[in-house]
């Protein structure tokens, strides 16, 4: 498992735990002291990223948050991509 933390400037702490097999994410967990409404949406985000080819991560995150109704405080959608990339590079 690879792990990285990222403190969003002026925002919250975000961390990603990832496992990669055959150039795809096979496990991803996103943790931190941020706020997401509704909270259970985090499970949906992890689900759409599980199985994602590495080159599709950004697209899948963007499309997930592009849907209506998810509010974030302390982090932005791009920060999830960034912390996953940091974990992959660790």
């Amino acid at each position: 498992m690879k792990r990285a933390e990222y403190k969003v400037p002026g925002g919250k702490l975000l961390a990603a735990e990832v496992e990669v097999r055959d150039s795809a994410l096979v496990r991803v967990k996103l943790v931190g002291d941020f706020f997401m409404h509704p909270e259970e949406a985090i499970l949906g985000l992890e689900e759409v990223l599980t199985g994602s080819p590495l080159e599709e991560i950004e697209e899948r995150v963007e499309s997930f948050f592009g849907e209506e109704g998810i509010t974030l405080y302390g982090v932005a959608p791009g920060d999830f991509v960034k912390v996953i990339r940091l974990a992959l590079a660790s």
């Binding site: 933390e5 403190k7 961390a15 735990e17 941020f34 706020f35």
Partner: protein
Amino acid sequence: MTETWRLIDMRIEDAPTQMAIDEAIALNRLKEDNPNTVRLYRWRPSAVSVGYFQSLEKEVNLETCSALGVDVIRRITGGGAVFHDYDGEITYSLVAPESDPKMPRDILASYQVICGAIVEGLKTLGVDAEFKPVNDITAGGKKISGNAQTRRHGVVLQHGTVLVDSDIRTMFQVLRVSDAKISDKMIQAVEERVTNMRRYLGREVAFKEVRDALVAGFEKVFKVTLEPGNLTAGEERTVEELKAKYSSAEWVSQR
């Protein structure tokens, strides 16, 4: 006539019960047409609560908690880890419908209003408190209160901590500082960013004083009278059901 909200006053319970009560009030608010509710409470035994999205083992020193008899629980709200020191901390919670005219629809704006009640209360005791968006209250530039909100079942549930005389050394023994801040210098810096009412005022502060001040803060900001009351039979039943969830490893250790 002044609107009346219910006050559930300084109930002392363990961590699963406290979290079950907050959620039970939220769940039943519209279903039972209960009044808006403010709770003030203390945790016995002392406990660490982690935010919904936090990693339990990265945030909490579980061995130290176990050695000190400190409970560990996961909240339904996001945000950071909190040490609820039985001897030094008061937690509040507020439940009101999202449609309540006194509750801004915008989440950030509603933090400001609800935290405003805490700020008002602290000011009556001479603490020059200030709301720091998103979810903190500071005094003299140091954090004295952390707050977290969720919206579900058509209601706003916000709970938060007011540090009265929390043992800040123990706080940083039970909470783990992230790897990004692990040098001694940084740990010191983290400790210096937190204060409590006794430290700030330089005198003993009784729970009763803080309780009275917070009640006054809520009454002033929301233009209501807080009337002491109890949970309904329906809420008590929900509490019993939810306690099992909050006590389970499946919930507490889920991330």
